[in-house]
Assembly symmetry: C2
């Protein structure tokens, strides 16, 4: 069991761990590893923007310099995984070639240009003469990231954590282990050269590491799982550490009686077919019964060239040819060229359906009626609610966030596409000059609570 722990850095190389720590038992090693990341994260919290950006530039440079080593490691992973009959889509994701390296390097340069999310003053109040309160953003602490085959996720998420000042425990898929080891090693060495505490990032490799990680609420503040829906749901069900992400993306298009039919057809086609395998693709169409006779045949025609299978409620099947839908269809994320269609009596039924069967991801209304659009946006309980545009816009890059941590369907902290600001929280900093509460309690002093609109600095 001891072989499972890997920590690719110049400080904690796996070989060193084998020699020095592995006698001490798996749980203690995992704890020590997480403790050291936590410890480093405290120091990283105080790193300045310039230092972090310098470290990011160093990572980009090192990745370019280590191109051959990375590609060689990735070839090993691909060969082994092919022999082990890894399914083709997973092999595709596993592949990390020169163009993928260029992509992640480009990503790092965009990240450098983004504003530092740490150290922003959100609120400043003078509580009394000489007693000033500041609410200032700071890193969350240690992020646990669990991802499946794609090695680019390792680079993306660790650089996002670095920019936001968080330590990170990375658990990659075992099929990508050689690539991940090289990547993690390159990243940690590059940041060390820029003066970042070396233990800020650590790599884990096996399933037992995941189980251990899910229990380390003492050291890990937030888990971000990246992978299939089942995988994400498993993580959410098996940890008391907060999890940021989404399992299902059951997105709805509601075509109202006042919709412009041509526009609605165009938007539903885009929502369903622009890229079917992603969480923000539409899965269910709700259509007003008055619009259905005009709209559905047009939609059917438009979807034919894309070979989209329509799965309809009985009323839908009476208007266009469609596979009869079962209750299960309304709960299903097809991620495929399939669309379930339900006729509804109006806005209220559409909202009820979405709030019952939806996953809180992205839902849209197509209507010419502003009042109905406003109601839909108020009452649909989802992170993203759109009027007259495609579900596919629900994305951090399209929203202009620059970098995306992921999309959250949770109801606290961060919701919808999450940018860097999802990796920070805040602390209250209070500066006094001998102030004690006793003086306010006996009313010899009084609070002023004046807004001061000043950024924190000492």
């Amino acid at each position: 069991m001891n072989k499972v722990v890997g920590w690719e850095s110049s400080v904690f190389h796996k070989d060193k761990l084998d020699g020095n720590i592995l006698g001490r038992g798996y749980d203690r090693i995992m704890n020590e590893l997480a403790y050291r990341v936590k410890e480093a994260s405290i120091k990283l919290a105080g790193a300045g923007t310039e230092q972090k950006n310098k470290a990011l530039a160093q990572i980009a440079q090192s990745l370019k310099n280590s191109k051959e080593e990375i590609i060689k490691a990735n070839r090993e992973d691909l060969l082994r995984s092919e022999k082990e009959n890894l399914p083709l889509p997973l092999l595709k994701r596993l592949k990390f070639d020169e163009s993928k390296i260029e992509d992640v390097v480009d990503g790092i340069f965009s990240l450098i240009n983004l504003e530092d999310p740490v150290g922003k003053t959100l609120l400043s109040t003078e509580l009394d003469d000489g007693l000033e309160l500041y609410k200032v953003t700071c890193p969350i602490g240690v992020i646990g990231v669990i991802f499946e085959s794609r090695p680019d996720a390792l680079v993306q998420i660790s650089t996002l954590c670095l920019k936001s000042g968080n330590g990170v425990l990375l658990k990659g898929g075992s099929e990508a282990r050689e690539t991940n080891r090289v990547l993690a090693g390159v990243i940690v060495r590059a940041t060390e050269e820029a003066g970042i505490p070396p233990n800020w990032a650590a790599l884990l490799e096996t399933r037992s590491d995941v189980s251990a990680m899910l229990k380390m609420d003492k050291y890990i503040d937030l888990i971000i799982p990246r992978g299939s829906n089942d995988f994400v749901r498993y993580i959410m069900d098996n940890s008391r550490i907060p999890v940021m992400g989404h399992a299902d993306g059951i997105c709805h298009c509601y075509v109202d009686e006042d919709a412009d039919i041509d526009m609605a057809v165009k938007i539903v086609v885009d929502s369903k077919t622009q890229y079917v395998a992603v969480c923000n693709a539409a899965e269910t169409l709700l259509v007003h019964e008055k619009t259905a006779p005009d709209f559905l045949p047009e939609l059917k025609k438009a979807l034919e060239s894309k070979r989209v299978e329509l799965i309809g409620c009985p009323k839908t099947c009476a208007v266009i040819p469609a596979t009869p839908a079962s209750e299960e269809d309304w709960k299903t994320e097809y991620l495929d060229y399939k669309l379930s269609v339900k006729m509804v009596s109006g806005l209220d039924e559409a909202i009820d359906h979405i709030n019952t069967y939806g996953s809180g991801h992205t839902d849209i209304i197509l209507t010419g009626d502003k009042k109905k659009a406003a109601q839909f946006m108020d009452y649909v309980d989802s992170g993203n609610v759109f009027w007259n545009c495609s579900t596919r816009f629900s994305d951090g890059f399209r929203y202009g966030f620059g970098a995306e941590v992921g999309i959250s369907t949770g109801k606290i902290h961060s919701r919808g596409p999450v940018g860097l600001e999802g990796l920070v929280i805040y602390k209250y900093k209070l500066i006094g000059n001998g102030h004690i509460v006793g003086d306010y309690s006996n009313r010899s002093r009084n609070f002023s609570h004046k807004k001061i609109n000043r950024d924190f600095s000492l």
Copy 2:
């Protein structure tokens, strides 16, 4: 077991439940109850500020009008609890007399005057011509509140939920059941008169209800436990619903070598003794070894009149008489006239000690050195970090938030004293005019991502 469900409103009276629903099994009833609160919360999310404030004023009026009924019910609870030998401190908390009613009514009027946290535009961006993105605050959904004996918690938390547009499941202590039933009934009837959906609040009464509640992640979005540390920890350990609150409050004062000794004595005395039974009282004093010989005897003198027991590390015991400290003392929240004292070699050791043994609540540095203060505030991983003022300032009212949901030691969503804004999240509203992603993917259109600084309205 069926008797345990209570829902005090004109719609779901316990008696009605007994007759209509109780044949159907406990789990189904609990589910139906939570479902109806969820359903009402969706409507409540669209309620305007004026309507919510009207409902709050109505609650205040009804509480005043129902004074006698409330006090009578509370007397029943007190008598029964006395017979059942409820400890005196709990009996005190249980008491809900005329002055307590006046307090909660005053609290409701302050709440009316606070800004509505719902409907604030946090971000507005033009993604392209006619495609506008707004990030707008909205209620979280349904809050589960679990509180022990104090009936005023029921009024406070349900009115906070109402102002922030959230549905609420309230579970009070069984010792306060008569008082809670009357209070919940008054609140729900009053809000119904103001047009608020009647099922927005429901009252639960037994331990089995708590277990059921902790499992209802389908309907409950956030749990706020109010009570003893053990109680809060139990809740945190037994639900996968996010929990907002704190278990321990192990707050530290660090007296640096550059501290003004008189000021430090005054602040440590206030932090420890101004009110010992609360989470923001100091529990551990860390003192620089160079300052200790001057500071500790002064502190000892000042604390004598308050009869504070000092529990010291070996070095401390060599300077002043103190009970020898064990490892356990550094992890203990005394909530009593006791203070553990440790001598440290400097700022780094102080920060390490706090990050190891602290609970992330409130920690202070007393020093004349600005640079050290800045380091302390950067590296101490707590929600509240203060310079030269008492730990006791860590409080929503003192911070000027007006109303306080509680104090959170979590690392995501809300941290430190939490005001109304801790009960809201946001959704992204995107308004288009037929925009589809295909056009951006094939580059026939481009994103502009211009900030527009406009509040959302349709």
